[in-house]
C-alpha cells in the first residue's frame, strides 16, 4: 500500500482543517480559538493554489481511490467551506468546549473532503465523517433534549451513509467499467438502476428531501448557539454539491424541489422557536437549489451552486444573529423574545442584512442567485413549478425576512435588556453581512467562480429589479395589514407535529409494545420455571424420599422387615431415615438389588414387547 502513489497534488485540501481539528483536541483557551480562525485561512490559501484538473490517487488493497479531484465546482465549494469555517471559527472564538472546537474543524474538513472527493469510495469516507463529526454541535448543548435530538439526528445520517454504501455496492456489482466514477447517474436513474436510486436516497437524506427532512428541523434548534452556525453551513451544502455532480437534469428533482420550497414555509409561519423557523426556511432554500439541479441546464446548475454559496453566508448570518440572542438571553422562543433592538442594535442590523439577503432584495446576495433558478424554470416551461417558487419567494420574505427580525428584535417589548453580542460574534456577523452585500453588488465576482460562469445572465435588469421589489414590498404589506388587523398568528408556546410524529410515536409504540411482549414473556417464563417447575422439582428432591419411604413402610412391614414395631413406628422411622439420608446398610442393599433386578427384567421384557424389525 503506498499513499499518494500517482499524485499531482501533494496535500489534501482538507489537511489544514484536519490538523487544526486534531491539534485543538489537546490545546485549550485562546490558542484553540486562534487555531479555529487560522486553520480555515491556511486551508483557503491551499485551495487558492490548486489547479483545475489535478488529482490525487491512493492505491489501497489493490484498489485505486481518487482521493482528490480538482475542478471548478470543487474549488468553489472548497472556498465556500473554508469561508464558512473561518466565519464559524471567529464566531466561536470564545468557546471552551474542546469537543465542539475540534469536531467543528473536523466537520468543516469533512465537508471539504466531500467537495474534493474524486470517486464514490472517497466520497463515502468523507460522507460518514460528516455524519459523526457534526453531531457534537448538538450534543454540546448538554441537555437531555439535545442528547435525544442528537441521537435522532445521527440515526438519519447513519442511514444516509448505509444507503450510500448499498448504492455503491450495487454500482460495483453492475459490472460497469468504472463503477465508482463520480459522474452523472441521471440516465441510470431514469433506467431504474437500483444503485442510482439508493445513492439519490442517500443524498436525499442529507439534502432534507420531504419526509427525510426532520433531522434538520429537529436537530439544528437543539444545537449550541455556535453549533447551528457550523451545522447550517456544511451538511446540506455538501449534499447539494454531490447532487449537482451525480444527478444533473434528473426530472424528479424538479418536483421534489418545488415541494421542498413550498411546505416548510407553512410550518415556519406558525413555529415559535426562531432557530426552527430558520431550519424550515433552510429546507425552502435548498428546494430552490434542487429545482435548479433538476432543470439541469448549465445555467440552472450554476444558479443552484451560486445559491448554495450565498445560502451558507446569509443563513449563517441569520443563525449567528439568533445564536447571539440565545447566547445572551438563553431564550429562543418568539413568544418570549421581542424588543431586543434597544440593547442589541448591531446584531439587529446584521440580522436585517441576512433577512434582506435571503429574501433576495436587490443589492443583496440572494437576488443574484435565486433569480437564475427562477428564470431557468420559466425559460424551460415549468409553469406550475415557477408559480410555486414565486409563492415560496414571497413566503420566505414573510417568515425569514420579516418574522425572524420582527419577533426577536421588535414586536412587543419582552422587557429583556441583554448586552450586545460579544466582539468576536459581531466581527463574524459583520464579515458575513459584508459578504452578503458585496456579492449582491458584485455578482460577477461569484459568477466567475461558477463552473459555467453563469454565462448570459444579468441579474440587474430593470424588469427584474422592479418586479422583485414589488413582490417583496407587497408581501410585507400583507404582513403589516394582517398584523394590524390582528389576523397574523401570534407566537404561541407550542410545538407543531411534523412527519417526525410517525417515527417518534412509532418508535415509542414499538418500544412499548416490545417491552410489553418480551417482558410479559419473561415474566410468564419466570413464573413457570422459577416459581413453578423449579419449586416443584426442589420440593420433589427434598420431600420425595420421605414420601417414598411412607409408601414403602406398609409392604416392608408386611414382609416382616421390622418385627416388633407398629405400623406407625415403622412409617416414622423410615421417613426419618429417608429425609435425613441415613438408611441401614441392609435396606440400601435391598434397594440396590431391586433396582438392578428391575433392569434385568426390563432387558428381558423389552425385546418381547418391541421385537427388532427384520428387514
Amino acid at each position: 500500500m503506498s499513499f499518494l502513489a500517482a499524485s499531482e497534488i501533494s496535500a489534501h485540501p482538507a489537511l489544514a482543517l484536519l490538523i487544526g481539528g486534531l491539534v485543538t483536541i489537546f490545546i485549550r483557551g485562546r490558542y484553540a480559538g486562534a487555531l479555529m480562525v487560522a486553520a480555515p485561512l491556511l486551508g483557503f490559501w491551499v485551495v487558492s493554489q490548486l489547479e483545475s484538473g489535478s488529482s490525487s490517487i491512493i492505491s489501497c488493497f489493490g484498489q485505486e481511490i481518487i482521493s482528490v479531484n480538482v475542478d471548478k465546482q470543487s474549488i468553489l465549494f472548497g472556498y465556500l467551506f473554508h469561508l464558512a469555517a473561518f466565519i464559524g471559527g471567529l464566531y466561536s472564538f470564545h468557546l471552551k468546549d474542546p469537543w465542539q472546537i475540534s469536531m467543528g474543524l473536523l466537520y468543516a474538513a469533512s465537508a471539504v473532503g466531500v467537495a474534493f472527493a474524486g470517486d464514490l469510495l472517497s466520497l463515502f469516507l468523507w460522507w460518514e465523517a460528516l455524519a459523526i463529526t457534526s453531531v457534537f454541535q448538538i450534543w454540546g448543548r448538554k441537555t437531555e433534549r439535545s442528547e435525544n435530538a442528537g441521537f435522532r439526528y445521527l440515526f438519519f445520517h447513519v442511514l444516509s451513509g448505509l444507503l450510500l454504501l448499498a448504492g455503491i455496492a450495487f454500482r460495483y456489482a453492475s459490472g460497469d467499467a468504472d463503477p465508482f466514477a463520480l459522474v452523472s447517474l441521471t440516465e441510470l436513474l431514469s433506467g431504474g438502476d437500483a444503485g442510482a436510486q439508493l445513492i439519490l436516497l442517500a443524498i436525499g437524506v442529507k439534502c432534507a428531501f420531504p419526509c427525510l427532512h426532520v433531522w434538520l428541523t429537529d436537530g439544528y434548534p437543539e444545537s449550541t448557539p455556535t453549533g447551528a452556525v457550523f451545522l447550517s453551513a456544511f451538511t446540506t451544502k455538501a449534499a447539494i454539491c454531490v447532487l449537482a455532480r451525480l444527478f444533473p437534469g434528473a426530472e424528479i428533482l424538479i418536483t421534489i424541489g418545488a415541494v421542498m420550497a413550498m411546505f416548510p414555509i407553512f410550518y415556519a409561519v406558525i413555529e415559535n422557536d426562531l432557530r426552527r423557523v430558520l431550519g424550515y426556511s433552510m429546507i425552502n432554500q435548498i428546494g430552490f437549489m434542487v429545482v435548479g439541479i433538476g432543470i439541469g441546464t448549465e445555467l440552472s446548475i450554476d444558479g443552484s451552486l451560486a445559491h448554495a454559496f450565498n445560502d451558507v453566508l446569509f443563513k449563517g448570518l441569520l443563525f449567528m444573529s439568533m445564536g447571539a440572542v440565545l447566547h445572551r438571553t438563553g431564550e429562543m422562543r418568539g413568544s418570549e423574545l421581542g424588543g431586543l433592538y434597544r440593547t442589541m442594535p448591531l446584531t439587529t442590523a446584521f440580522c436585517i442584512v441576512g433577512a434582506a439577503s435571503i429574501s433576495a432584495f436587490p443589492l443583496f446576495s440572494g437576488f443574484v442567485s435565486k433569480s437564475i433558478i427562477m428564470a431557468e424554470a420559466a425559460a424551460h416551461g415549468h409553469h406550475v413549478v415557477w408559480l410555486c417558487l414565486l409563492f415560496a419567494s414571497a413566503g420566505v420574505f414573510h417568515h425569514a425576512g420579516i418574522k425572524i427580525p420582527f419577533f426577536a428584535f421588535f414586536a412587543h417589548d419582552s422587557g429583556l435588556r441583554p448586552k450586545e453580542a460579544p466582539v468576536n460574534m459581531l466581527l463574524a456577523m459583520g464579515f458575513a453581512a459584508f459578504m452578503c452585500i458585496f456579492i449582491g453588488c458584485n455578482p460577477d465576482w461569484l459568477y466567475a467562480m461558477l463552473p459555467g460562469g453563469a454565462a448570459g445572465y444579468h441579474p440587474y435588469d430593470a424588469t427584474h429589479v422592479v418586479t422583485q421589489t414589488e413582490i417583496l414590498l407587497f408581501s410585507a404589506l400583507a404582513f403589516t395589514l394582517l398584523n394590524l388587523w390582528k389576523q397574523y398568528p401570534p407566537e404561541l408556546k407550542s410545538v407543531n407535529l411534523d412527519i417526525d410524529y410517525v417515527y417518534r410515536k412509532g418508535g415509542r409504540l414499538f418500544s412499548s409494545s416490545m417491552a410489553t411482549f418480551w417482558n410479559g414473556l419473561n415474566e410468564k417464563a419466570h413464573a413457570f420455571f422459577v416459581g413453578g417447575v423449579a419449586g416443584k422439582f426442589s420440593a420433589f428432591t427434598a420431600d420425595g424420599p420421605g414420601i417414598m419411604a411412607k409408601w414403602l413402610s406398609q409392604p416392608l412391614q408386611a414382609l416382616g422387615f421390622y418385627p416388633g414395631k407398629s405400623d406407625e413406628e415403622t412409617e416414622a422411622d423410615l421417613e426419618k431415615q429417608a429425609t435425613t439420608g441415613i438408611h441401614p446398610v441392609g435396606l440400601t442393599a435391598l434397594f440396590g438389588i431391586l433396582f438392578l433386578l428391575g433392569f434385568l427384567v426390563l432387558a428381558w421384557i423389552y425385546p418381547i414387547l418391541f421385537p427388532p424389525l427384520s428387514i
Binding site: Y341, F391, H464, I471, L473, F474, S475, L477, L497
Partner: protein, 103 residues
C-alpha cells in the same frame, strides 16, 4: 412574561407609537411608488417577459402589478392556511403543547 424595563431608559424613536405610524405610512407610499414605477415601465418602456411560450402566464406575468398582487395574495393565503394548520374550527391540527415530546 414581559419584565418591566428599567425606568431611566432613554426613549427610542420607535418607542413612540406616532413614529411607528409614520414608518408604516412611509411604507404604504413606497408600495404605491413601486406600482407606479411598474406601470410606467410596462407602458412607457418594455418589460422582459420570463416566459416565451405564448402561454397564459406569458401574457399575465408582464401585466403591471402582477407581482404585487401575487405577493400579497400568496402571503395572505400562506397566513390563513398556516393558521388552519395550527387549529381548524377549534380543533387543533398540528399544534401541541410545548412539552408534548417530554410528556
Amino acid at each position: 412574561m414581559a419584565k418591566k424595563p428599567p425606568k431611566d431608559e432613554p426613549k427610542r424613536w420607535l418607542d413612540d407609537p406616532d413614529n411607528v405610524r409614520k414608518f408604516i405610512r412611509g411604507f404604504y407610499w413606497l408600495c404605491g411608488l413601486i406600482i407606479l414605477i411598474d406601470v410606467v415601465l410596462s407602458i412607457g418602456w418594455h418589460k422582459h417577459a420570463a416566459f416565451h411560450d405564448g402561454s397564459l402566464l406569458e401574457s399575465s406575468e408582464t401585466l403591471p402589478s402582477f407581482y404585487g398582487i401575487y405577493g400579497f395574495v400568496a402571503c395572505s393565503v400562506l397566513v390563513f392556511l398556516a393558521k388552519a394548520l395550527r387549529s381548524l374550527n377549534g380543533q387543533r391540527v398540528l399544534m401541541r403543547d410545548e412539552d408534548y415530546w417530554e410528556k
